[in-house]
Amino acid sequence: MFWAILLQEIKRRGIGVVFISLMALLTVIIPPSAYTQARYYEWAIKDRATRDRIHQAENTDQAAVITRPVPRLLPLFNGSYGSLSDEMILRSDSALTTTSSENLDLLEWLFPSADLGLIIGVLMTLMAILLGHDAITEERENGTLKALLSCPVARHVIWLPKLMRTGLQLFIALLYTLASYIMIVVVFSGGAFSLDSEKVFEIGVFSLTGFLAMMVYASLGIAVSTVVKQSSIALAASMAIWVATVLVWPSLGPYIASSVFPAPSRQSARRVIVAKESEMLKEELAKYREAAAGMAAKGFGRDAAWEEYIRIKKDWTVMRRSEVGRLSEKEDIQSERQQINAGRLLCISPYGAFREAAGIFCSTGLKAHGAFMDEVERYDKEEFLPASFESQAGGKPWSGELKAANHIELRSFQFSPPSPLERLKDASFPLVLLLLEIAALVAFGIFRFRHYEVG
């Protein structure tokens, strides 16, 4: 009976005016979005390659610049890439890695990227509401609901096919969206974006997350349809919840979190660190003066003096970094706590949960940026500093050679995202939330429908 009702539901409402209009809208919107994302990805890859080439040639034992590789799935979900720095400056004479400027993306603040994440998370969840909100109320208004309820079947056998029909429509729309979007990105990215088995798996998981978010809104629409008696009121109520969770909460949430869990202002933290560095620098300079006087008195040659100088410099560099690291650790912990709480608040909204999961899978979220920063710190400690001091030890500044002699070849900075399974594990919180929300809404909808009175 269940399958018969499902088939009937698909035949009657599978291809309606609303579904066709939505597919037409997607057909209009996908090409410009996908094309612009393809071009943006091509630009990002070329830009980064040029910068990397220049930095590789220009890195010295005093300073080196590390650039973050462009995330492979950037055209699907831009996330925080472009908003946060993808370059770090390592300096041998400073305790801090310096964030080089993020790109001057002047319009990003006014108009967030129109990527696949926006199409799925905003447009297609709206689609889910429009397809599901009148599942019960329309039948009631048409008078067919009474006949349906008079059949000798359990009510959930009538309710569930409606959800499944909506799910099937959304699945077809999602497949269509993905296929056309990815095809356009592959064709117009100048070869920068290509498909391999790992990428296909990642796209599959990304799509599954999007589908879950859409199903939350489909379940919501049908559940609301079970509660109210008129289609127009069901639409208004579903839309109100959609606006609140897709448009309003993702913007309000982080601001609420940053006011409830405040982190110290960046300049306050910097001032404390600079004060500490200044204090240590005074001691360091005094130490150098003492050493210089001592070596001159003992009749050191320049080579021996240089060797001793490099040893002192290395010790002081390690000490300064350790002290400054201790100071910034407290600020880092507070910032991380704020970020975690803000992330959790955001996940209350299904769209927020989708964005969080998408950021993890596409390595464009805050977590990936944090992992990049950790890798930079490790690279600084294990690669740059030792290579820098080795180069400086071999330097002969009294010989009159130009700075080009200070160029160092560093091992290429490697930063790969965690494996797909590890990312799946990281994204378990938002994914589980989405599943729970679907389950709760379905349970609520079925419960209400059991007690539904047609009269």
């Binding site: 209009s21 939505l22 809208l25 919107i29 410009p32 979005s33 612009t36 071009r39 630009w43 830009d47 220049i54 040639a57 946060l84 964030t99 400027s101 001057l104 002047l106 603040w109 006014l110 108009f111 967030p112 129109a114 926006l118 905003v122 447009l123 429009l130 289609s231 127009s232 639409l235 606006v243 448009l247 309003v248 949430g253 982080p254 601001y255 940053s258 006011s259 202002s265 300049q267 306050s268 910097r270 001032r271 600079v274 560095e277 200044s278 620098l281 300079l285 003066r289 210089a292 070596m295 040659g301 320049r302 240089w306 910032s335 704020q338 970020q339 955001l346 940026h369 010989s399 009159g400």
Partner: protein, 478 residues
């Protein structure tokens, strides 16, 4: 005086028909307002907006205070003494130097007060900036990285999303409902002009929205003025009022769109679905896509790419002109040093100007495209009025460039001065550049900058208003 006792215009026509026509329009408007009140639409709009506008004002105020504190600490830190030193190691067979120093972050620009209403490009200008031989932009000063991912929930955000939705909410079923109830047929058989009915509905929907919108918006402004003291001064208040007026015009666009859809569709549900899809496309997706399209059509290298090119160009210039070997000691001992340095200044200036002008052109093209859509026109218009727009950013960039040019001039002049005088000149120039205040765009200029956006909104309202008028004129009563 004619027998009727009505005043005559000098051309001999009576005022009466016009006054009566206006009165009938007003009756329709009043009918709409009363209907919207009785079906609770006005109350729902009022409660929602009264919740969101003050909440938005409060959250943006907390954020503004945080930025202001950040800026104040940064300003204080500029007076912290810089620690530096040079230690010579003089041995019998050679010598070398150790030089080190540390200093505070470069100065930040002061946050704009009206960014609590319209954040605009204030998010982009919230960076430390070094103005010297070149303009160096530091990283953005987020209080939390998560804020990098989200649109600021400012008043412009609430207007863009919610006011437009409520405008549709008020106007969408004003004709379809009458069609469904059968009252439209009855109305149109009366000897009244169809345009009076339509304009009455437009006015009614507009008043129904303007009341809750106005009350909620100005309660937020009052909070910012009296409770927080952020908005003070006549000009800021006037700008706040202008922001409201443009917001109302934007709402009117969607009232016209809603009415047009209402005249085209037969059922409320079809009208709602069509309106929502159109709203989603026109407010959420298309303005964003046109901006991204402008970035693809007019690509500009990234800022870090510029940095890398500058570094490479400078090094190549020095290498090429000074040769592989030069007399030991300072670079300045080389006879070509002056010429090489002047060339590096010019390279820095040229490459940076090319980049900034490229970026500004990109914004202008994106602005032209995005303004074609109501949400794009609203965003640019409101940010221009709040001093956080692209025209303000352009004058900020020009301000930085003039500072940079002053420093380069001083760097060149110092070569013809005694070392001590030259050093003082550089220090004075750097000090004078760092204490300059960012210019504030005057109100007239802001209005001029916002004018095309306002014109775009008028055009949208006129197009859909006229389309609705044509539809209702041709509506077949039978």
């Amino acid at each position: 005086m004619p027998a009727t006792g009505h005043k005559l215009r000098t051309d001999g026509h009576s005022f009466q028909p016009m006054a009566e026509s206006f009165y009938r329009t007003w009756l329709f408007a009043r009918r709409e307002v009363v209907a919207n009140w009785l079906n609770l639409k006005i109350i729902i709009a009022f409660v929602t907006m009264l919740l969101l506008f003050p909440l938005s004002a409060h959250l943006l105020t907390v954020d503004y205070k945080h930025r202001l504190e950040n800026w104040a600490v940064n300003q204080e830190a500029q007076n912290d003494p810089a620690v530096s030193g040079v230690v010579p190691f003089k041995m019998a067979d050679g010598s070398f130097l150790h030089a080190a120093g540390t200093k505070a972050d470069p100065p930040l620009p002061e946050p704009t007060a009206l960014s609590v209403l319209v954040r605009g490009m204030d998010k982009e200008t919230d960076r430390s900036v070094t103005v010297g031989q070149r303009i160096g932009f530091g990283p953005r000063q987020y209080s939390s990285n998560l804020l990098a991912l989200t649109e600021a929930p400012d008043a412009a955000f609430v207007i863009k999303l919610l006011v437009s939705l409520f405008a549709l909410f008020f106007s969408l079923d004003s004709v379809t409902f009458e069609k469904k109830e059968g009252t439209l047929r009855a109305l149109l058989t009366h000897p009244l002009k169809r345009s009076e009915m339509l304009f009455g509905k437009m006015l009614g929907a507009g008043l129904s929205l303007a009341l809750p919108f106005g009350l909620a918006y100005f309660s937020a402004v009052a909070y910012l003025c009296w409770a927080r003291g952020i908005i003070s001064g006549e000009e800021e208040l006037l700008r706040s009022v202008l922001i409201f007026i443009v917001g109302l015009l934007y709402a009117f666009v969607f009232i016209c769109i809603g009415l047009f859809i209402s005249t085209v569709t037969a059922r409320s549900k079809a009208a709602a679905v069509t309106a929502l899809l159109l709203w989603g496309a026109v407010v959420l997706i298309l303005p964003n896509a046109t901006v991204l399209a402008a970035k693809s059509i007019f690509p500009v290298q990234s800022y870090n790419h510029l940095g890398a090119r500058l570094y490479e160009a400078r090094r190549q210039l020095i290498q090429a002109n000074l040769g592989a070997n030069h007399p030991g000691g300072s670079f300045f001992n080389n006879p070509n040093a002056r010429q090489v340095l002047f060339q590096t200044y010019e390279i820095d200036r040229q490459l940076t100007d090319e980049f900034m002008l490229g970026k500004l052109s990109q914004i202008e093209e994106a602005k032209k495209l995005a303004r074609l859509w109501p949400a794009g026109a609203l965003t640019f218009g409101l940010s221009d009025l709040a001093n956080t727009g692209t025209s303000d950013y352009r004058s900020y960039v020009d301000f930085l460039r003039s500072g940079r040019d002053n420093v380069i001039d001083a760097l060149k002049r110092q070569w013809d001065m005694k070392p001590e005088e030259g050093k003082n000149l550089i220090q004075e120039t750097l000090d004078s550049v760092s204490v300059r205040k960012r210019p504030v765009t005057p109100l007239e200029e802001s209005l001029r900058a916002a004018a095309p956006s306002i014109a775009s909104l008028f055009a949208w309202a006129a197009i859909f208003g006229y389309a609705a008028y044509r539809r209702i004129q041709r509506y077949d009563v039978r």
